[in-house]
Symmetry: C2
Subunit: 596 residues, 2 copies
């Protein structure tokens, strides 16, 4: 059940693909080079491997519990959270002026991967707290920032995001929670919020709920939603805690996975109204939420990478140990460890290739975010922001969808033992299943990719990325051997499939929106496969240049990239065929509602 953070692989991606050295050239990141990254990752890996990873299975077997409105976290979690907080891990990417460590998102992303790989349910608490911090930094008053942010960063308090209501899931236009102004600058909040991750627990002194609600005269729909801060315990001017606020956890859910993380139903205002304060301006709540949500969506994408890696590590270890059947090539008369069987090798290679491809794409996206927020040149910032924003729904959607497949393969590698809960492989399969759903389902990510990220700029960012991919294809041509030939062929085909798809989306979105949105998830997956494959190709080129320094490590990078080229990239063509064949009223949408 152990987890060893793949620090060497992480640093390879950071250095060779994501431009770690360039980070140190950005204002404020002068110290953030290789040495810092390595030291941070090594320290993080200790906490994750020694403290959090062993608790993962404990939390699954002993989920958090609810009694009389109070939630008790799984055994050992509160103590682990104190160690996490004491280490300063909540603040890695947050600004030093609020007592964060002010490190690049690129480094923070590697820490987040480790955190989630070691214990997905635990990691959700910091993930949501990060979201609350982002929202407060984005739109809070200076007083709100000073009051809340350092205490969230220190881990004394944690944060939550309260969006969903029973009738309002993906559709936030249907939010009904009310906020009534009290004349003293405060509001009283009334309503029910569901699916609130770590919405109640005993790991911290206070819980800072960020809540979407409507003021009395707000317009209908999404343009009438405001954002409020509603602490579990009211906060005095000096930051000390006051009375219990009127927000109560009435139940927690019985879930398929991530069982240690309490998923709360929160009732606001049953005893006179929960006291809240507006964040930013009225009716701009959704806009603030979206800024924060981009960060949270990226983090959920990393959860996909993380659980994939954990499942891969476990499956590879089992396959090296379990002895069963003679090899098909007759090379032994005795049964051998199953890693020698070609199909087990295929499954492990698939898990590995998808994990490495999705990790590379996410880290590269994180680096774009760092440049977008820290580069001295505004034009550069805008350019990298556009790329980052294009990549976020892909990182979220693709990494999480593939994590379901990867964890499923992890079960399969274990054979019958994989289906027995004590083995542990099944937990990853159960835990992963939420990832393509929360923080916006894959369809919501795909809508975002089509609407805001492709149509709004007429496909400009997509085309710029395609041009970069074409350059990599040219670079591959300079090399000999089967691996480079395969990658060149399949990446080139993938490039063409993505190009055709982007053109189809741009050309048909107005005239045939149903057709375009019916293919939107396929477009997202296609983009993930091609952009992930592109990173694998870049990895291959970088590894080739250093091959002699460490033939085993760099040779494995080349072989894994070849596997990605030959076994993952070909799906791009199938996805393209599926996308462009849809026309309104035919195929995909020809069946009427009553025919289902």
């Amino acid at each position: 059940m152990s987890y060893a953070a793949p620090i060497k692989d992480m640093l390879f991606v950071m250095q060779e693909l994501a431009g770690l050295e360039d980070m140190a050239g950005l204002p404020g990141f002068e110290e953030a080079g290789l040495e810092t990254a390595q030291a941070v990752l090594e320290e993080s890996s200790k906490l994750c491997g020694e403290v959090l990873a062993p608790l993962n299975v404990e939390g699954d077997r002993n989920p958090s519990t609810w009694k009389d409105g109070k939630v008790t976290a799984s055994p050992g979690f509160a103590d682990a959270f104190r160690q996490f907080a004491a280490g300063g891990w909540q603040g890695v990417q947050h600004p030093a002026e609020y007592e964060g460590q002010g490190l690049p998102k690129l480094i923070g992303t590697a820490c987040i991967e480790m955190l989630n790989a070691s214990n997905l349910a635990f990691a959700l608490c910091p993930l949501l707290t990060d979201g609350a911090i982002e929202a407060l930094l984005t739109a809070g008053s200076e007083e709100q920032k000073q009051t809340y942010v350092p205490r969230l960063i220190s881990g004394n308090w944690t944060g939550t995001m309260n969006l969903t209501e029973p009738q309002a899931g993906s559709d936030l236009a249907l939010v009904r929670t009310r906020a009534e102004p009290q004349g003293d600058g405060s509001y009283r909040i009334f309503g029910t919020k569901i699916f609130i991750t770590w919405g109640e627990h005993d790991m911290a002194d206070n819980i800072v709920h960020l809540v979407l609600a409507r003021t009395p005269d707000a317009p209908e729909g999404v343009k009438g939603i405001s954002l409020f801060v509603v602490p579990k315990f009211l906060v005095h001017a000096d930051g000390s805690l006051g009375e219990r606020n009127d927000v109560h956890c009435v139940s927690i859910e019985h879930k398929l996975g991530i069982k240690a993380s309490p998923t709360a139903v929160l009732q606001f205002g049953d005893h006179g109204g929960a006291i809240g304060h507006l964040i930013g301006e009225e009716n701009r709540g959704l806009e603030y939420m979206f800024i924060m949500m981009n960060a949270a969506r990226f983090a959920v994408g990393m959860q996909g990478v993380a659980i994939s890696d954990r499942a891969y590590q476990k499956a590879a270890a089992y396959a090296k140990e379990r002895v069963q059947s003679r090899p098909v090539d007759g090379s032994s008369k005795q049964a051998v460890s199953i890693i020698h069987h070609p199909d087990v090798r295929r499954m492990l290679s698939t898990m590995r290739a998808l994990t490495e491809g999705s990790r590379a794409l996410a880290y590269v996206a994180a680096a774009h975010s760092d440049i977008a927020h820290h580069h001295a040149d505004q034009a550069k910032r805008a350019e990298h922001l556009a790329i980052y924003e294009y990549l976020v729904p892909i990182v979220k959607g693709w990494s999480t969808e593939l994590s379901v497949d990867v964890t499923s393969l992890g079960v399969q590698v274990h054979g019958g033992m994989g289906f027995i809960e004590e083995t542990g492989a099944a937990q990853y399969y159960r835990d992963a299943r939420i990832l393509p759903i929360y923080e916006g389902t894959t369809a919501i990510q795909a809508n975002d990719l089509v609407g805001r990220k492709t149509l709004r700029d007429g496909g400009a960012v997509a085309k710029a990325l395609l041009a970069d991919i074409a350059q990599t294809v040219e670079a591959l041509k300079q090399h000999k051997g089967a691996a480079f030939a395969s990658m060149q062929k399949h990446l080139s085909r993938g490039h063409d499939a993505l190009q055709t798809t982007v053109a189809f989306v741009v050309a048909n979105a107005k005239s045939d929106p149903n057709a375009v949105f019916a293919g939107s998830v396929a477009y997202l997956k296609l983009a993930g496969i091609v952009l992930g494959g592109w990173q694998m190709a870049r990895a291959m080129l970088a590894a080739q240049a250093k091959l002699d320094n460490d033939p085993s490590f760099y040779g494995a990078k080349i072989a894994t990239a070849q596997f990605f080229a030959e076994h993952v990239l070909p799906q791009a063509v199938a996805l393209e065929a599926s996308i462009v064949s849809t026309k309104d009223g035919e195929g995909m949408l020809a069946l009427r509602e009553d025919q289902f």
Copy 2:
């Protein structure tokens, strides 16, 4: 949580694709035409819908329990089993001379689909009993048949298959259970068997264990395994029950799914030896087991079809009811039920198309089995047997692999609610996960497809099927419209991909076995997609001919086939690329064990 057996769809497949009317032309099946089929299916659907389906969630919440060696089935299961037995449902496909109903496998297969769709964990008990009946009919003495088979068919007793041991899963060469001859024709059995489905329970008077074990002088490996019948209670000559035999359930497993079905660890011979009797000849146990296993593997394939349909029905019902977000084409200013959103439509159509395609292929296989076992002409029998045997690993492997995807889509359609256990969608996702593992993993099926079913006849059966597919492609050309054009294009490409793959397998198996077996699962999936797509094309042609009789029903068949053509069949080309690109020592197998 309800289940409505899709009788109209089932009869469509049976009549239009599987040749139900031809069954009545076979000796012994004179009564087995449409009228009989319809009556049997309607009666079966009542038991399944009213009795078994409501127990499905109960069994998941209250798994079977073990105490002091005794296993108590989930609440309501024993009573339901009595109703199942009283209705004669165990005997549907078994011979009338042993008090079965002697109906074609084609009709029995529809009953098995319903049984599994309504309650997969329950259905496993009859499934294993069917296996025991098949084995006894295949290799038992007349006395053994008379003693055991009628009591198994009546449901007074149930049966099990005891293959797996801790060190012997897929690899039966490693079986260690011993059988010591006692000089009186009986044997004493000693050993531990694991993963024994319904290996102990309180639903029947006796449990008939069929056990693989080695006699003292048996050769090593699979050629030294014999098959024994070891009843839980010894059986007197008159069939009445005697002493408790020395086989005891020492524990049951804590599993990801199918929780109501006890998965037993059975200890044989801890108190002097369990008394058993040889079935057939010594050292031929594996051969008998394989005959039975073909039946069991087919049945597990049907479990895949069944759970897919159950998940589809639930997801479609939810999508019609859940209101969320306005339509992307601007056709309403209000939020609509989510079935109107293109991506939800894509998910439901995918679930439906895969369910219908896998059902059609399985039913057609069942009809081949009926002809293979009942046709008067021996050459005909041999021809259809070869086709059936080619199809069995595909039905098992493809239908179960896709059931994991389909049940995962079922969770996704439900959004956040899908992750909450009370919703019920998650149970199908958990239950389905065992299907690609037990009765031989997908890799084992794929090895069988490559080895016994393709190489042994030099690809002859595969080529005959390809010729039939080519004829269907020609027939499609006679029709106009986008649906037929799409199917013609994609089925034709699929045909070519399968043709190339079969040629690759036949050409390289000897010279490069690692490459061929590394692509074996991809070959299996490709064969499933193309053969399933072929059935969808045949359904399209049949539906077109009857379209005016019932435009909604037959129109839906055409639209679903078009969806399969445009969104499932294109994967064939990607799978082909993956298969033919593998060469020993490169790509798939380039990573050494220590590099994982």
